[in-house]
Amino acid sequence: MLIRLTGGTVYDPASGIDGQQQDIYIENGRIIDKPQGEFKVDQDYDLQGKVVMSGAIDMHTHIGGGKGNIARMLLPEDHRQDPVPRSDITRSGCGHAMPSTFVTGYRYAEMGYTAGFEPALLPINARQAHMEMGDIPILDKGGYVMLGSDDYLLRLLTAKKDQKAINDYVAWTMHTAKAIGVKVVNPGGINAFKFNQRKLDLDEQNAHYGVTPREILQVLATAVKELGVPHPLHVHGCNLGVPGNVQTTLDTIQGIGGLPMHLTHIQFHSYGTEGDFKFSSGAAQIAEAINSNKNITVDVGQILFGQTVTASGDNMRQHANHKFASPNKWVVMDIECDAGCGVVPFKYKDQNFVNALQWAIGLETFLLVNDPWRIFLTTDHPNGAPFTSYPHLIRLLMDRSFRNDMLSTIHPEAQKMTTLASIDREYTLQEIAIMTRAGAAKLIGLTDRGGLSAGNFADITIYTDNADRQKMFEKPDYVFKDGQLVVVNGKVVSTKWGTTHVVKPDFDPSVEKGLKDYFDRYLTMKLGNFKISDDEIIEDGRGSITVHPLSS
């Protein structure tokens, strides 16, 4: 079947197209060049005056894995306020802070998103993450496997194993966990918490292993680069949420020595200690460091006001943060000599000085980082806010007067502590398309997504241009996923199953010798039973695996 999208205004940064009128042809799920000679169009969409972008990609969203399911179990009262009935084509579920899997897929698609990436795939919990993502309809998905607090890696470091041994272990883990990237959370800190350490600075040693976060970052960033994994090491740094952590973050950027590194939810890592409340914005310094270090990419982790739940692998920091739990209930777990997690409900309030300034710090970061190819639009769903708040966030970035109106309503002391009112920048549609499409696909290493040129999968979102950018982005006219029309006027009209994106870097098979011995002696599962097979993702007939090429 040949589909033509006629006369839309196309924003396709991957091809350098910025608001030009173009026709797009779709056949067999992919975008094709205009057919030669005579051809018959089976379906024609008149898109005069509409905005056409590829489907949006959320490069950091907690949509699969145990901590999210703990968050669901913890908050029945949150679900009760947002029940989602079934329809002839969609399953029932619940929404708000941590939606059910089916509702996650529907609501992302209804905002024009066609892919989401789980950033914290614990090796031991990767099965669950893939099973949950396997129940998310429409979206493509993938995950970054979490390393850095696992005892095996720390033992390798203590034993002074060489970089090749680290690389083999990282590559093997990516295979077994079916990952497309590597994440590190509070490097070594989750492990240190199990030894009763309650904080771990960049150069502070793990009490048992004597290893520092700086060393962990160095070997993992090196491994990711040497293995040719396109997505740089995905880093949730030390000291999340701690006033003064701006210095830790600046040191982390300097310390990586030019290796590619992605700093996630940077907003939570950009705090100074100035002012009457000893809490200030470090966004300007962070943005300056990002602007001058081309090896660094970031996503923001914007907070937006209201109830949400924070779900993180960082059990050390989440335990410290439990004092702020609202409602006052929380879960912290140590997990399988592998990782940990902490789930703490939060209610961000615009009249709370700290929350109000966090909001401003995130926006300052967005607006002060010059290169939209190196900064990404996230709320660290659900940690800063549920993903459903993205259209509101886009309006804050694109509409200065709206932003300043909002600014004038937050805690007055926070208003005094932010430079936000003096920043004139407004994001353009092309810049939004870079952050949420082309840039994200490039960052993750997706070879045929995030663009509208021939050969790309036909993941396409069409909006009606509207000066109210929130209204525009919350209700696309059409969304196509792999060429199938899945959303019309902001409502799901059909569903399908997306693929799971992975990379498969090479490793020396002898890596399993040491691992088998370790599993038999210390873990609770046989090595053979630990490895996730492709079958587990595809056997129910819904899932598929897409392997992306490595960088040369």
Binding site: G66, H79, M131, Y522, T524, N529
Partner: protein, 419 residues
Amino acid sequence: MIEITEVPSPFCGIGTDDLTIRVDGVSIKVIENGCAVNTPAFEQAITDTSPRVNGQEVSLDVAITAAAALLKDTRLPVIGGCATDVNGMRALLALADRAGAVVDNMNFTGARNNFLALQDSGWMNTTLAEVKNRCDLLLIVGTDLEAFAPRFFERYLWNKEAMFLADTSARDIVYLGQSPTGSASTSPTGKQAHVLPCATEDLPEVIAVLRALVKAQPITAKTVCGIAVADLQALADKFKAAKYSVVTWAASALAYAQAELTVQQLSEMIKDINNQNTRSSGLPLAGKEGDQTANQVCGWTTGYPARMRFSAGYPEYDPFLNDTNLLLANGEADALVWVQAFNSKSVPPETTLPTIVVARSGMVFTKEPEVFIPVGTPGIDHVGHAYRMDNVVAIRLKKLRDSGLPSTAEVLNAIEQAL
């Protein structure tokens, strides 16, 4: 005849995955690393392979059509048992969503003690590998742990080596309430567990005193429910001295009213210990008959654990009102679907309502259900996934034999399609 090694078990809840099993046709023999729970569960023979409608053997298609017809005009069907693998639960929830049914895991009344505590104040918990490598003090509350999981001590406490303990046999084991029935808790070097016995229903009082002592609150009584307060003080001191203590309980064994408050008291005590410059974690025991699996899959599909309903067209959770037995007794339900792929002895509750049973081959009924469809057991007849007690780890179950029995998922998906 073949031998299969490294077989994981969905039955014991503690994720044993080192069984060696001999398969001869459809008969199964556990050759190595069996236990009182796993061996009989694996070796249970296949008897019936054919579905029945009103006691008559029929084809699978006929049985599915009959099941769908029976469900078609119901107003509040209840799907009980919910003892199956991840794909079985996925299909069960799809069917329940379509039929507007109640979903109720058979172990939920016990698990509720945990969920109510979790949903009111939360907890700090750990998993089995952390226990194996770190735990230097284990408090077992109200439970005969070796009866619950015969290989728990061998696998997770008396392991030869641990990464962070010089001598695993030096671990302190303390029982509170229930005494152990065997000697599995005695270390390989002969170190015995310390037992502080009391009646199960006295646990709330004893634990309240223990927590007060952990928080250094003054206690004037000399004994509580037969236990010397000095002994509880010694236990509180052990918690403070330990580097990584673990408290375990089986929610189902706390069989008295409002036992969720006991779970909460323990969980809050663990938080208190973590505020006294050392580490401590909880370890709820579960994972039997697919209970963790049911709660996990129901959790991500609906937002709620597995005692909820779809009758309004969307998920609603009530951990009391959606109890199968209550709905049957009150006359609120109008049909029962019983799903039990693991245990043929776990029969549906007695009811006069039309009943569909999708269960392990060999189930014997006092009253023949309208529809009976024997299904394969996950981890024996087909591959699958099951959650361990510690909730983080899903184990990959193997297919051991070709029995020709359909999976729970195949049967429930077919019924849903027929609706």
